[in-house]
């Protein structure tokens, strides 16, 4: 065989290569299709069941396809009437009367009415697995009084229950009444009230949703369709974002100004308000010496939060204050409580002095010990693979070592970590907070005896296992307070209580991630126009609906 002949043989291969290289390069995205990346999945599974208690349903299901009675705007801290137009408390807080919106139609053209709301809640009552907000823990009955009015009767006065009722997605009775097993129902062809209800394309690597032909907000949405490419990881989604293949995402991006914005400053924007809960260092208060408030405060003062935020979060957040609340409560923050927070400022010398005075002295090895006890040797638990946490823990450990605590970072797989913190089997661990519309939600899981479970019993929150009698009475009063002014007052007192008792050690408020192609669409919330939380991740109480109905494609292409 001679050389030319070899090339002849290779000709088909070369031809193939030619075809491949001539294949269309990156296509321009249609100007009115919004490409969203929120979920990270290797491939899509078709599920639009808004009630199913897993993240099995695709992202837009909860805030795009289906809608709740009220949408919670966490930036303005208010409930925006959505499928409902108003509510009032009656019978001294035992009855909640909600008025539903008229003129709303399901995407199949049928009318939405109060009966659908009553039906949805009845569905939750009959299928406990669907009631992920635990509404039937405080509800007694739900009845449609007429087409426009629903009565929620409570077992006891429980004002915070309103926030849970407000957030439940409403499904159409005429479709769901005949579904045998609504828990497993994949709802492949959703009939809903939201702005985007028509499944145009569904393949395992991409799907598209089109507009609801009967949407109740006039001339909305302005976006023609939503497209969702499947990216398996943060990293892949970020690449797509940088290459203008995604318009809206809620991902962590390192060095975002350099990596994303500077590539195309006129087209790329982001806003990371610190509203996604707070990250805490939880100390197990059932164990010595963490039951001592002086120890908790000293540990807190040993942590250099400024460095931590630099290293772990690329300065996207700020050091926490002594209320332990994220900026979702910015409007409700109590300045007195913040002023009490000298124990969240980095001051290792003072921390050492405090521990010396409390009688926890250093041994010959340089580590402190409780009187009559062994050296303080503790693991700081984090989830393996959660890089921000791992880095934060490294900073914490350095700080603790400096004041004489033999601390080390210990990583566990998520499930193992979660089991430990839930059962209270740890000394120190990082963890998130549980924030809802009112400070009530956050503090209930930080210091209420109602959330306190014995060590060994899995607990939803309150992993550090702390209960304060004062907190109990304040929270109890909150449950019965229907007046906003009263709620405000109680919220302030809760904050001061937290700042003085230091049940847990707040580290930083967690940023709410949001990157967007402002060159293709206008109307994304931003620092200048903070009309809602900008992140697609805040879907739990319907907030993305505010954005999806506000976005407009830019007609002139930059």
């Amino acid at each position: 065989m001679t050389a030319p002949r070899l090339w002849v043989r290779l000709a088909p291969v070369l031809a193939l290569l030619a075809v491949v290289s001539c294949a269309p390069q990156r296509k321009e995205l249609p100007p009115d299709v919004l490409v969203v990346s929120q979920e990270q999945q290797a491939s899509w599974v078709r599920n639009f069941n808004p009630l199913t208690p897993a993240t099995a349903a695709r992202w837009p299901t909860l805030a795009g396809v289906y809608e709740p009675l009220f949408v919670y705007n966490s930036v303005q801290a208010k409930q925006v009437p959505w499928l409902a137009t108003g509510f009032e408390w009656r019978d001294g807080g035992l009855l909640l009367r909600v008025t539903t919106r008229s003129g709303v139609r399901w995407s199949d053209g049928r009318d939405f009415d109060a009966g659908d709301v009553a039906f949805t809640f009845d569905l939750l009552r009959r299928h406990k697995a669907l009631d992920r907000r635990g509404c039937w823990g405080f509800l007694q009955s739900v009845t449609a009084v007429d087409d426009r009015t629903v009565d929620f009767r409570f077992q006891r006065v429980f004002v915070p229950g309103f926030d849970e009722i407000a957030a439940v997605q409403i499904v159409p009775e005429h479709v769901w009444a005949s579904i045998e097993d609504p828990v497993r129902f994949p709802n492949e062809h959703p009939v809903a009230t939201g702005p985007f209800t028509e499944v145009l394309v569904f393949r395992n690597q991409v799907y598209e949703l089109g507009r609801n032909p009967y949407y109740w907000q006039k001339d909305k949405p302005a976006v023609r369709a939503l497209r969702f490419p499947a990216y398996p990881s943060n990293d892949r989604a970020n690449l797509a974002l940088v290459f203008d293949e995604v318009d809206w995402a809620g991902n962590f991006i390192p060095a975002i100004d350099r990596v994303y914005v500077q590539r195309a400053p006129e087209r790329h924007g982001y806003w990371f308000p610190c509203t996604a809960g707070s990250i805490f260092l939880y100390a197990n208060t059932t164990r010595e010496p963490f039951s001592d408030v002086r120890v908790r405060k000293a540990l807190s003062m040993a942590v250099d939060r400024t460095l931590l935020v630099d290293v772990a979060l690329h300065r996207y957040s700020r050091p926490a204050d002594a209320t332990g609340l994220s900026d979702a409560y910015a409007a409700l923050r109590d300045t007195v409580a913040v002023g009490m927070g000298d124990w969240v400022r980095f001051d290792p010398d003072r921390a050492s002095r405090m521990l010396d005075e409390a009688g926890y002295l250093r041994g010959t090895d340089g580590f402190r010990r409780s009187p009559g006890g062994g050296a303080w040797r503790y693991d700081v638990l984090v989830v393996s693979g959660w890089s921000d946490w791992v880095r934060a823990a490294q900073v914490i450990v350095r700080g603790l070592r400096a004041i004489g605590v033999d601390a080390s970072v210990r990583t566990y797989d998520f499930a193992a970590w979660f089991q430990r913190v839930q059962e209270g089997d740890f000394d120190l661990s990082l963890g998130w907070s549980f924030e809802g519309p009112a400070p009530y939600h956050a503090y209930r899981y930080l210091m209420a005896s109602s959330t306190l479970k014995p060590v060994g019993t899995p607990s939803l929150g309150n992993w550090h296992r702390y209960a304060s009698p004062t907190a109990d009475s304040l929270l109890g009063a909150f449950e019965r307070a229907t007046e906003p002014a009263m709620q405000r007052e109680l919220g302030d007192r809760l904050q001061r209580l937290f700042a003085s008792e230091a049940p847990a050690i707040p580290l930083y408020p967690n940023p709410s991630w949001a990157e967007y192609a402002k060159g293709r669409f206008e109307g994304f919330p931003s620092r200048e126009e903070p009309y809602a939380d900008p992140s697609p991740n805040k879907f739990d109480r319907g907030e993305p609906l505010l954005i999806l109905t506000a976005l407009r494609p830019r007609t002139e292409r930059p």
């Binding site: 943060n234 990293d235 970020n238 690449l239 940088v242 991006i253 390192p254 060095a255 350099r258 990596v259 290293v311 690329h314 393996s384 693979g385 890089s387 791992v390 880095r391 490294q394 900073v395 970072v409 210990r410 990583t411 566990y412 797989d413 193992a416």
Partner: protein, 314 residues
């Protein structure tokens, strides 16, 4: 017949030394390997704490940080050096263990034959045909992450090939005159195994250990890359895991993943070269072949990475 084919009774070190002295490839492999071993032993003392946060994250290489900093602001060079120790330690340990398990299954199977062989080599063949990486992922997923888990997983998924090779070697030895002679003279079977058979397998075992180490390092790096190792430890695999996790591609931080991959490849390549040279020197069949070829004036050296496979079907 037992004369020329009866491999000289040398220890593994002598055998390797022999190979390094007389084969160019073995020599080059050994030199690269020696450098890495030196780094593994002394390096960590020189570079200090690799987890220290020394600077701004994702800085490109500079005089201060030879290979820049990673996404956490740690020195990439220090991490590479410290990672060398852990990765090589796991690699060589697992390499040894894999061969040990393989020998425990393969040698009795080949030597005793019959039902023992049927059961043991059946087991080995089953494990050989199950796809290794998915199996490793599934097992690693359930155990607490750490070097022990990693080692265990690699042994479970890697022993079968060694068992197969060692079995056929034992099978071949069983048919040899000197073993037969020992058997006739009434020595116990275990004694024959220990005194006559095993020493004659030294060269194969050494070759298998080297080969298995290549496997162990590669598979370990792969699993750790997927986040199935202990991600807070500093190893080559976790370095790559963090590089990926900290968006090395997005930020263009090639220095966080390129050097590590290069090191993995260099070690793998060195071991392969060493093995190729070693095989040629010690494998009697190859030696014979070579001599024969030279004699016949054949076109040149024929190097077979011979994997003696004795078919169990005919």
């Amino acid at each position: 017949m037992s004369g020329p084919l009866h491999a000289p009774r040398m220890g593994p070190i002598e055998l390797l030394w022999d190979a390094v002295r007389s084969d160019r490839r073995a020599l080059s492999g050994a030199i690269i390997l020696a450098v890495f071993l030196a780094v593994a032993v002394f390096g960590p003392h020189i570079v200090g704490d690799a987890t220290a946060l020394v600077g701004i994250p994702l800085q490109p290489p500079s005089w201060e940080h030879w290979l820049g900093t990673n996404g956490q602001g740690q020195d990439v060079f220090a991490q590479l050096v410290v990672g060398t120790r852990v990765s090589l330690a796991i690699g060589f340990t697992v390499g040894l263990l894999v061969v040990l398990v393989g020998a425990l299954v393969g040698v009795p199977a080949g030597y005793f034959g019959g039902k023992v062989d049927g059961a043991l080599s059946g087991l080995a063949n089953v494990f050989l045909v199950l796809p290794g990486l998915p199996l490793a992922i599934v097992i690693a997923a359930y155990l607490p992450s750490g070097p022990v888990t990693l080692g265990l997983v690699l042994v479970v998924t890697g022993w079968a090939w060694n068992a197969r090779v060692l079995r056929s070697q034992a099978l071949a030895l069983r048919r040899r005159d000197f073993v037969a002679a020992a058997r006739v003279s009434g020595e116990s079977r275990l004694r024959i195994l220990a005194v006559e058979v095993l020493p004659n397998m030294t060269s194969v075992i050494v070759a298998q250990v080297i080969g298995s180490t290549v496997y162990a390092i590669g598979a370990q790096v792969g699993l750790e890359f997927l986040g199935l190792g202990d991600v807070s430890a500093v190893t080559w695999g976790t370095n790559l895991y963090w590089a990926q996790n900290d968006s090395a591609l997005l930020t263009g931080a090639w220095w966080t993943f390129a050097p590590t991959g290069l090191c993995v490849a260099l070690v793998g390549f060195a071991l392969t070269q060493l093995n190729a040279g070693f095989d040629e020197i010690t494998n009697p069949r190859l030696r014979l072949e070579r001599a024969w070829r030279t004699f016949l004036g054949d076109r040149g050296r024929g190097v077979e990475r011979s994997t003696p496979v004795v078919r169990d079907h005919d």
